[in-house]
């Protein structure tokens, strides 16, 4: 039984004053095992943030069930209820907005423990421990958020999330607002924390190179539907859905020679998720669209162990696409170029 099970999640928002519906999430199912990281990848309008908020109970889903440790969420049993309080936490995209400008860092980190009714002494001890774990110097506990860099502010957000030692943390684009070097530091931190605390991550992002590094399994979302899901290494090397291919080929890695050449070019732009036509969501932009995919939603098919895809013509795509993982090639090339001249000193790359 997985830590978190999401079954056929549907979330539609009515537009005030009209009968139209924003179909943000249309029947998404996936699991997150304890201590594992699953990435939800997609561009704007894909519904990835909405899914994260449904899992946490910030929005009541239109349909579908969410099981946490086997028990359905909702009604009396929410993340605020005594039983589950502190078990699930959220890390936000914009570090500055996630911290109250009038709270010093120590107060912000300790807030979840206030809800758990911990004594002042216990709280202080736990706050200091959490701060040390995220690499936040003691002196920052008395500072105001405005005095910290974006990277430090995000560490405070993470410290607040781990202070109640949750079993699951939903991270909504935690690094996309950061500079490259700060982003790398935060990713290292998250991976180290997962090893130390065994916390499961639901990692929401649009940045494929970060996702490739952080998560073991990846779920690709487009217009509220889960179009492809599988282990990161498998999916990045042998993408089966046209949208995954389009997404991977659009990623620009810092090396002029390493770019995924592809015959599948997605034209036009992402349509608005209002009153979507039946059939495959990508129909409007996909070069391989046919009568079948225009009329009905392709079923989920398992193409390899744990690798599922919703596309009628996934076999053709397998044949057309080169089966190389450019991210892996890039990693080796980077290690060759950036190896420190005195390689023997640091023993790097072993």
């Amino acid at each position: 039984m997985a830590l978190l099970e999401v079954r056929d999640l549907v979330q539609h928002f009515p537009i005030a004053g009209t009968k139209k519906l924003v179909q943000a999430v249309n029947g998404v199912s996936f699991d997150v095992e304890a201590g594992e990281t699953v990435a939800l990848v997609g561009e704007s309008g894909s519904g990835k943030t909405t899914i994260g908020r449904c899992v946490l109970g910030l929005i009541r889903q239109t349909a579908g069930t969410i099981l946490f440790k086997g028990e359905p969420m909702g009604g009396r049993r929410t993340v605020r209820s005594a039983a589950l309080r502190g078990r699930m936490q959220l890390v936000f995209q914009e570090p500055a907005e996630s911290l109250d400008p009038r709270f010093v860092v120590g107060q912000t980190i300790g807030e979840p423990l206030v809800a758990l009714g911990a004594s002042r002494a216990d709280r202080e001890k736990a706050v200091r421990l959490a701060a040390r774990r995220v690499g936040l110097a003691e002196r920052f506990l008395a500072s105001y958020p405005a005095e910290l860099s974006m990277g430090l502010q995000q560490r405070v957000g993470i410290a607040r999330a781990i202070v109640s030692t949750p079993e699951l943390i939903v991270l909504d684009e935690p690094t996309s607002a950061l500079d490259p070097t700060a982003r790398a530091e935060i990713i290292d931190l998250l991976i180290r924390l997962q090893k130390e605390l065994g916390t499961a991550y639901l990692f929401i992002s649009h940045d494929l190179s970060t996702v490739r590094y952080v998560s073991r399994r990846v779920a690709v979302l487009y217009l509220g539907s889960l179009v492809e899901e599988g282990p990161a290494t498998e999916l990045f090397a042998r993408p089966r859905h046209p949208y995954s291919v389009g997404l991977l080929s659009a990623v620009l890695l810092p090396n002029p020679h390493l770019r995924r050449e592809t015959t599948i070019r997605l034209e036009g732009e992402i349509p608005s998720p209002i009153d979507l036509p039946p059939g495959c969501p990508l129909a409007g932009r996909c070069p391989l669209v046919d009568a079948r995919s225009r009329e009905n939603m392709p079923p989920v098919e398992e193409v390899a162990p744990g690798h599922r895809v919703r596309c009628f013509r996934h076999a053709e795509i397998a044949a057309m696409e080169p089966a190389t993982d450019y991210f892996e090639a890039f990693q080796r090339e980077t290690e060759r170029i950036l190896a420190p001249p005195e390689a023997e000193r640091a023993g790097v790359g072993a």
């Binding site: 946490l56 910030l58 993340v79 605020r80 209820s81 309080r85 502190g86 699930m88 936490q89 959220l90 936000f92 914009e94 500055a96 907005e97 996630s98 911290l99 109250d100 400008p101 009038r102 709270f103 912000t108 807030e111 979840p112 206030v114 809800a115 758990l116 500072s143 105001y144 405005a146 005095e147 860099s149 974006m150 607040r160 109640s164």
Partner: protein
Amino acid sequence: MTVTGSTIPAVSRGAGSFAFFRAVLRNHPSFALGYAIVLLVVLLATFAPWVAPFPPEFADADVFLQPPGWPHLLGTDATGMDVLSRMIWAPRIDLSIAVLGTLLSALVGSVLGALVGYYQSVRGLARLAAGFVMRAADVLQAFPVFVFAIALVAVFGQSLQSIVLAIAFVNAPIYLRLMRNQAMSIRTMRYVEAAWLAGLPDARIIVRHVVPNAMAPVLAQLSVNIGWSILLTASLSFIGAGVKAPTPEWGSMIAMGYQNIITGQWWSSIFPGLALAVTVFGFALVGSSIEVLSDPARRRRLSGRLTAARGAA
């Protein structure tokens, strides 16, 4: 790193925020003027008995309508009372009514506004109640404010307490709306979501996050509102619905001297009006200084300009 980069420490915690405040005052005479006026008026009112040359309600019939001169520096009114002394005593009434009325309305309006704003987006009963409160506020504000104030005074009887109640009643919707908008926007902030997710009860979230972050605009409004309430108090007295003569109060003093204007005796009306205007002007300046100092972005631009000015000087 440029001054606009996020890593520059906020000046409020920087070297001696009091020193910064003094520098701001030195560099912005208008703010300093505001605090000076308010301070002066408050001091005059408290020490009136020792400062005022004549007792405020002593009417000496044979010196009525004397022009400014000696010993009545600003002249006397139609009943022979000394204009200067009554002007000095007047703030005791005007100021206390205005401050009390405004604080009362700020308290009631803000608390109600915070609740309404916070529960506006939550479905269910609370949202219904919030909707009802807002409609009531709309009805209150659709009333012609001035006539409404007079009606209130008529209903509660013409005592100081009833004027304070009238002022509070008229001003409450302003704070209700101001706090509601603040609460609604703060409610959507991520740090409130984080607190909600952590399991904090609504009441604590309001007290810990909503109210402190909404304080700055309310304080700025408070100061401006006190000025406006002084005007309202004086207006009520002017038409005889507020403080009754002979109690020293700017509005009623202007009303007493109003007939004489046409026949040329201007001083018993003009001087109290001036005192009233200067006091309200002082509160308005204090209000704008609070507005500037409490808004981090404008404060940073201010500090930039301060050094540029100092550099150029």
